[in-house]
């Protein structure tokens, strides 16, 4: 499926304003401000100024929280987003309830304890973010993530993403049986997205520390339904 840009000029805007650059600006701004977030259950809350708020919105990290506060803005980050900013981009520090800054290893343990499959979902998230795709929660479509070519205001997401652990048996039991495949593919199609499975292989490294992630490998596959009634003349469609 081709990218579906929203309205005229969106594609041009995206080309003029590459996501990698926006993320890079976000990174340096956060480092400069020594941004610090608070881990609260499964979310990380960050207090930011106007400039940083703008960059977070442009780079699509987190969701703004509407509060009565005037000078500062609060953002709520998902686990994967927070860890990406901490561990991959090294621009965020996270404190716990005790007020102490957590090391990456401590944060990793915390997040794993809240979500067993965190290593797999994080690897898939960071794999796509590294390639400058915008990755957001895919919960409303029954998948792990949705991936956008640029900012969601400019383009519809092309891929509905499932992060699966290599070895056939997804710990969360997705796509275990054919009816699951039918269901997910159909749903994705009805919202004009292609189902993308990101297969993470831990190469027997386990998940004791975040440095294990380095040794994980990733394979991308799309699952698409082929309709024999429609493709009879066109070789290319196959």
């Amino acid at each position: 499926m081709k990218p579906r840009w929203k309205g005229k000029g969106s594609e041009a805007k995206a080309i003029a304003d590459p996501m990698s650059k926006i993320v890079s600006l976000l990174q340096s701004s956060m480092v400069q401000s020594e941004t610090c977030g608070l881990l609260s259950s499964c979310s990380v809350l960050v207090e930011v100024d106007a400039e940083l708020a703008d960059l977070l919105n442009r780079a699509c990290f987190g969701r703004p929280r509407i509060t009565a506060e005037k000078d500062k803005q609060w953002f709520q980050l998902d686990m994967e987003e927070a860890f990406y900013l901490c561990f991959s981009l090294r621009c965020l520090k996270v404190v716990g309830e005790d007020g102490c800054i957590k090391s990456n290893e401590e944060l990793w343990e915390d997040l794993k304890s809240k979500k067993t499959v965190f290593p797999v979902s994080y690897k898939a998230y960071s794999h796509l973010r590294h390639k400058s795709w915008v990755v957001r929660s895919g919960l409303q479509y029954g998948v792990d993530f949705v991936a956008y070519r640029h900012h969601p205001a400019l383009v519809h997401s092309e891929y509905a993403v499932l992060a699966l652990l290599e070895g056939g048996n997804d710990q969360n039991g997705r796509l275990r049986v054919w009816s699951d495949v039918h269901c997910t593919v159909r749903l994705c199609g009805s919202v004009a997205k292609t189902l993308l499975i990101v297969i993470v292989n831990d190469n027997c490294q386990g998940a004791a520390t975040p440095s294990c992630l380095e040794h994980y490998t990733v394979e991308e596959r799309t699952i698409t339904r082929w309709n024999p009634e429609q493709s009879r003349e066109d070789q290319a469609v196959l």
Binding site: K131, H151, Y159, V191, K193, E220, R221, R225, W226, P228
Partner: protein
């Protein structure tokens, strides 16, 4: 800046016409329009069932479908059970037993259940589905034609002939592989199925070329990545499709390897 939730603004619910109009299927199979598409022919071909081969030997050819059906060995044409059954269902073939008596449809359905036939109901449904849409379908790994001497007499005289022995040898080896794979269903969830060529292609049994894709039928659970990769290595550049049959519905899925672009 406004705390606008730009994601919920996007209305991703699109009604994309034509992509998944499966709801029409249920209606269609009962409407008279569907039935009238089955053309009951006047020119009916004849074949004789050869039990040892679990194949039909064609003795009288009528119509153009023989360009894309049956395998040729030493100038004779033989059909697997799925081809035979397909042609009988559409009224294009009379199948006789070795005594020359015409077999009933029931008797032919029975033959489908025999292990030796190398086929089973769901596999037949896949075959029938694609054939009815005009695709050229053949069993993977079985050559469409093999050069050799023509037999002197056309009808049922393979007894003890060299050609018959060759045919038996060649096909029983392939059939055994298929049967073995059926037995191994517990271990591998897919079984080899068909080479498929696009309809309207200039198909010739003497030089069919590479199929457009190979269809693997899954009976149990969806194929694992390991299985898919093994098959991809086996088939090289030829596309693969994985087929699932349930409740008479035949669905095809591709599990293609991709690599999302690194964006600017």
């Amino acid at each position: 800046m406004d705390a606008e939730d730009w994601e919920s603004c996007s209305n991703d619910e699109v009604s994309v016409h034509g992509i998944n109009n499966d709801d029409d299927d249920e209606e269609n199979c009962y409407s008279s329009g569907f039935l009238s598409k089955l053309q009951f022919r006047k020119d009916i071909s004849k074949a004789v069932w050869v039990d040892d081969l679990a194949m039909a030997e064609v003795v009288e050819k009528k119509g153009k479908m023989w360009v894309t059906m049956g395998i040729v060995r030493s100038g004779n044409t033989y059909c697997f059970i799925e081809e035979t059954l397909f042609l009988i269902e559409i009224g294009a073939l009379h199948l006789l037993d070795e005594k020359g008596i015409c077999l009933s449809l029931k008797e032919v359905y029975d033959k489908l259940s025999f292990e030796k036939s190398g086929c089973f109901w769901e596999l037949f449904e896949v075959y029938r589905h694609l054939k009815s849409l005009g695709y050229v379908v053949g069993r993977h790994g079985i050559p469409w034609s093999v050069k050799g001497q023509k037999t002197k007499a056309g009808n049922c005289t393979l007894q003890g002939s060299q050609e018959r022995n060759e045919l038996l040898e060649m096909d029983s080896k392939d059939n055994n592989t298929i049967i073995e794979l059926f037995h191994n269903m517990q271990i591998t969830e897919v079984s080899p199925a068909f080479d498929v060529f696009l309809p309207n292609s200039k198909f010739r049994k003497s030089s069919p070329g590479d199929p457009s894709f190979v269809v693997y039928l899954s009976r149990g659970t969806p194929p694992s990545r390991v299985e898919i990769e093994a098959l991809e290595r086996k088939h090289g550049p030829i596309a693969l499709k994985f087929c699932h049959v349930e409740n008479g519905r035949v669905s095809f899925f591709s599990f293609d390897r991709v690599e999302l672009a690194v964006l600017p």
